[in-house]
Structures are given as C-alpha cells and as structure tokens.
Amino acid sequence: MIRTRGLAYTYASSGVVLRFPDVDLRQGGTLLLRGRSGSGKSTWLALMAGLRGAGSGDLFVAGTQLATQRGAEIDAWRARSIGFLPQKLYLSSALTVADNLGLVYFAAGLPRDDAAIGRALAQVGIGELAARKPQQLSGGQAQRAALARAVLLAPEVLLADEPTASLDDEAAADALALLCQSASACNASLVIATHDQRVVQALAGAQTLDLNQTAPWSPTGKDLQL
C-alpha cells in the first residue's frame, strides 16, 4: 500500500523543489513509474524506501507514515516492509548466491533461515545455483538471484528499478512475468520504475505515475539540470 498527498522534495544542494502527483496504490496492486532519466524517478523511489525525507506532504507506505519515524526505526521498517530490485543488482562478489540472500537476515538483524533461502531461490528457478558466486551467473540468473533477495522477507512493497533495461525482448518478458508473479506470491504492491515501452505495453492496464509531466520548480528560475 502506498498513499502520497502533496509530496514534494527539496534538493539540498540546489534548493530545487520537486513536486509529485498524488498516488494511491492498493495492497497487491502494480504501479508503473515512468519518466525520462533525471525526471525524479530515483528520488521518488528513495522517498518510498525512507532513504530520503520528504520536504513536505504526507507519505504512507506499507501502513506507516514515514515522516513520524527516523533512524533505526526507518531501517528496521525498510528491512521488514520494502523489497528492492536495483537495476545494477548489487550482488556482493565476495559471497555466494545463498550468502548474498543471507545478507537480508544480517541486515534485518534476524536469524538466518537457510530453508527460506532455498525456497526463494527455487521459486525463481535457480535453486541449484545457491553455492555459486554472482560472477559465475548469467545476467538473467543474477537478476533472478536479486529478485529472490528482494522478496525473501515477503515485503509489503516491492520496488523494481528498470528491471528490463539490458534484456532482449524474450528475456524482458520472462523477467517481467517473474517479477509480477513474485510480487503477487507475497501480495506485495509492485512499483516498476521504467522508461521501457515493452513494459508499458505489457502492463497496459496498470496504474501509472508519469513524472514527465511533473515540472520541477526552481527558486532561481533557471532550467533544471539533474
């Protein structure tokens, strides 16, 4: 569940204020976050994950009003409630695939559950690759590992950043299907940040937040360069 009201973010360095349209995403729903690069997609995702504080407006994510919490509370909340599939995956090359998933428990301060790690890897179809290092995986396999990591603790909100950017048509369709399937398996609200037309077409019926129409307002009146 995500609900925003009058959400705005002020860049500390330039003083530029970015205003976002209101969003209502029900639990289990899917939201397409569209926009050119530099249109504020990353900032919006960072706000949803509690990594940045909103300049103004109300923000409810996964049943929590984010402005009321800070520091360790936010970290614990993020560990519990947010799954994140980054574009670059960020699997640690020092650890095996299974240990990479183990980081989730380490970060959340929970006891490691090897059975759950095995189930999560099996669910995305790479159960037999648990002992490999990330650099021994193909691009598609690595993305599946990262997806397994994102949904390991059954988050309420799953954020995916450009999940199809570097994939061919067939792989992109597979990745998207698996992503949607994984999100619905834990009834997570799914947010897909993308500027990929294939995703837009595939999820034609999904709710959309298009940041291309959001005009940043600059106090200096200059054109915005992000």
Partner: protein, 412 residues
C-alpha cells in the same frame, strides 16, 4: 545480540578473504611489527630479571684494580675476563671489618669446555639458594659441582646417559678453553645443581683450595717454592654483603684508597650497563613501532580501498535495512580479524625469535633467555594490535557509516 556479533564476525571474515593478497600482506606487516614488540618485551624482561637475580644480596664487588664494569661482569655475571687477582690476606682483613656481614671469595682462572671453574665456599651456593639435583657439595679438594646448564652441555658432548656424579674431568688453563690442560689434577664430580635461573647454572663450582692446589703444584719448582706460593695465596673476586647500609658511604672509598684492591658497587655499574644495552633495546623497540605504524597505514589503505570497492555492497546492506552502525561494524570487524590473527602469529614469531636468540646466547655461555615463558605484559600485545587496527579502521568505518544509499539508486 551475541549472535549478531557472531554474524558480523563471520561476514567480515568472508569480506576479509575476498581480497586474499591484501589480507595476507597486511597480516604480514602487522605480524612483523607485533613480533618485534614481543621480542623486545621478552628479551628485555628476561635480561633485567637475570641481572637482578644475579645481583641480589651483593652490595660490593672487590677485585684487582681496573675497570669497575669489567670487575662486575667478570665477578658477578661471569661474562668477562677478571681484572686480576687480589691477596687472600687482604680479603681476610675485609672479612674482619665490622661493616661487613659476609665475604664470598671467588677464584677464577680455569675452565672446562668453555665453562668456568670457580673456586669458592659453600656460601656462594647458599647465597643463590641453589639446590642439588644429584650428589652433594664438594667435601674435599678436587671435588666439583656442576651447574645445570653445564651438566646439560657436557652430557650432550660425550657423557650420553652415564651418571655425572663420580665422573672425572680435567680443567684447562684460561677461561676460553684451549689452554694448557691440568692433567695431573683431574676433578671428580660430586654433585649437580638444579637449575636456579641464575649465574650458577653456567659455572663449575669447587673449593677455593682446589684452584690453589692445581696452580701451586703446577707452578712450584720445589717444596720450598710451594710453601712460598702458599703464603701468597690469592683470590680473584670477593663478593661483599654489608652489615649495615651505612657501609656504602665509607667502605668502597676506603678500599679504593687504602688497599691495592678495587671496590665496585654492582647497582651503579649495572645501571650504567643497562643504559648501554638500553640503547639497543630502544632501537629495536622503535623499529617495532615503525613497523606497527607502517602496518596501521597499510591496513588503513586496504580498508579504505575495500570500503570504496564495496561501496555498493555496503549501500545495498543499508537498503536491506542494516543500520549504519552495523555496516561500520563490518569494516571494524575486518580490521579486528587482522589484529587477532596478527597477534597470534606475531606472538608466536616473537617467542620463536626469543628462543632462537636464547639458543645462541646459551651456546656462547651467556645470559639465559628463553621463548618458552609467557609474561603478563604480553597481554598488551593483542590490545596494541586491536588499537592499531581500530585506529586504521576508524576513517573507513566512518566512511561506511555515512554511506548514502539514495546515491545507489541515482546511479545510472
């Protein structure tokens, strides 16, 4: 929380060995620094203790005129040639002095296989509270008692398994070995001392009369000459214990000015000696310090690079909900692993080096040093290592603490 620290340690262990070359190099530098520190600690402490033990209860050393330091080194520690001999009569006069509680005469001059044969009185053994491992003290002239190190050395040389008591040997003239052998006067071993950790370990003890006997009969041309020699009997050194501390004020000066003898206060001379040796220890200590500083720098650079390389990993951990402290702890733990490993290896190496040094010193009949002891002060070595590692990890850990996760998202 306990399991949290365990997981932190386990994960940082993985990260440490994900860069094996850097880990091994840092371990090596840190280990060398700690080994140098351990070595200095072991050797300096043992030498201090050995000096102290050998000096206990000796207020004044009286011998022939010459260098006072040489007199102490020869008469107390038996690591230098004596300055000469002094007349027995003067020593006896000293004994009669009311300021003097005890005089232990020592007669040097002969050796066996490089070990000094010292003619003395049973008081010498009593003074160091040495006990007999086998046999008895000398009962008659030409009986000899072996120090523990001597006994070990001789057994290795040729006595394999045979009992030492009742064995005989022939002393040779001079302290270095290789001098004229006193073949007419073989010594009989009457006993072997238990190790006392003092200078007696390295000596062969006998009665003063034995030494006189060997030399007088060797030197005398006829019976008349022998009688003359017996009149002019000499000893090499007299170890003096005062009856009152006040004696320190007048007695040394009186001996130095009124007699042909020289009096040297061991406390003063040894302080002088340790100041000389101390320079060596300081150099070694400074060397260890430099190594540690280099190690700290090297660990710092390695961690700094590791944090930069692993910026994404650390940011991902934050993204997964790890509090900043846990991420910084990961970096700190990596340094602490290095410290722990380097402490173990460094102390092992330090002890090994000390033992090697002790072996060399032993072979030369010098001061006893061993690597097989643990000093309470060594507890400081792991602490030092942890301190160095923590210092090196401080900045990288803060860097990790301040990892901005949102930047991770913003990266194209």
């Amino acid at each position: 929380m306990k399991s949290g620290a365990f997981k932190l340690a386990r994960l940082s262990w993985h990260y440490l060995w994900s860069r094996p070359l850097a880990a091994v190099l840092n371990l090596l530098v840190l280990t060398l620094g700690l080994a140098a520190v351990t070595l200095v600690l072991l050797v300096a402490t043992q030498l201090d203790k050995a000096f102290e033990r050998d000096l206990t209860g000796i207020d004044l050393v009286v011998g022939a005129k010459g260098s006072p330091l040489q007199l102490i080194l020869a008469g107390v520690f038996h690591i230098d040639a004596p300055t000469g001999n002094i007349p027995l009569q003067e020593v006896q006069a000293l004994q009669a002095n009311p300021l003097v509680a005890q005089v232990i005469p020592l007669s040097l001059g002969d050796s066996y296989r490089g070990y000094r044969i010292v003619g003395t009185t049973p008081d010498y053994v009593k003074h160091y509270e040495a006990t007999l491992a086998e046999g008895a003290l000398w009962q008659q002239p030409m009986d000899a008692v072996l120090g523990a190190t001597v006994a070990r050395g001789i057994v290795k040389a040729d006595h394999a398994g045979a009992p030492l008591v009742e064995a005989t040997f022939v002393g040779s003239h001079g302290l270095g070995g290789g001098g004229h052998a006193h073949g007419n006067h073989p010594y009989r071993v009457s006993g072997v001392l238990a190790p006392c950790g003092c200078v007696l370990d390295r000596l062969i003890l006998t009665s003063t009369e034995s030494v006189w006997m060997v030399h007088e009969t060797d030197m005398a041309t006829d019976a008349e000459d022998l009688a003359l020699l017996q009149q002019e009997r000499e000893v090499t050194v007299a170890l003096v214990r005062y009856r009152t501390p006040l004696a320190a004020v007048s007695l040394p000066r009186k001996i130095n000015s009124d007699t042909s003898m020289q009096a040297a206060a061991p406390a003063i001379e040894v302080t002088r000696l340790l100041r000389l040796l101390g320079v060596g220890a300081d150099v070694l200590r400074a060397f260890g310090g430099v190594l540690l500083a280099v190690a700290a720098l090297s660990v710092f650079i390695a961690l700094w690079n590791a944090v930069r390389e692993r910026r994404a990993d650390l940011a991902m951990l934050r993204m997964l909900g790890a509090p900043p402290g846990r991420v910084a702890g990961l970096v700190l733990w990596e340094a602490l692993w290095l410290a722990a490993l380097a402490s173990a290896l460094g102390m092992l190496l330090g002890h090994g080096l000390a033992h090697g040094l002790g072996w060399v010193l032993q072979a030369q009949g010098l001061l006893p040093v061993t690597g097989w002891i643990w000093l309470p002060a060594e507890a400081g070595v792991p602490l030092l290592a942890a301190g160095v590692a923590a210092l090196a990890a401080l900045l990288p850990a803060m860097h990790a603490y301040n990892t901005d996760v949102a930047d991770l998202l913003a990266q194209p």
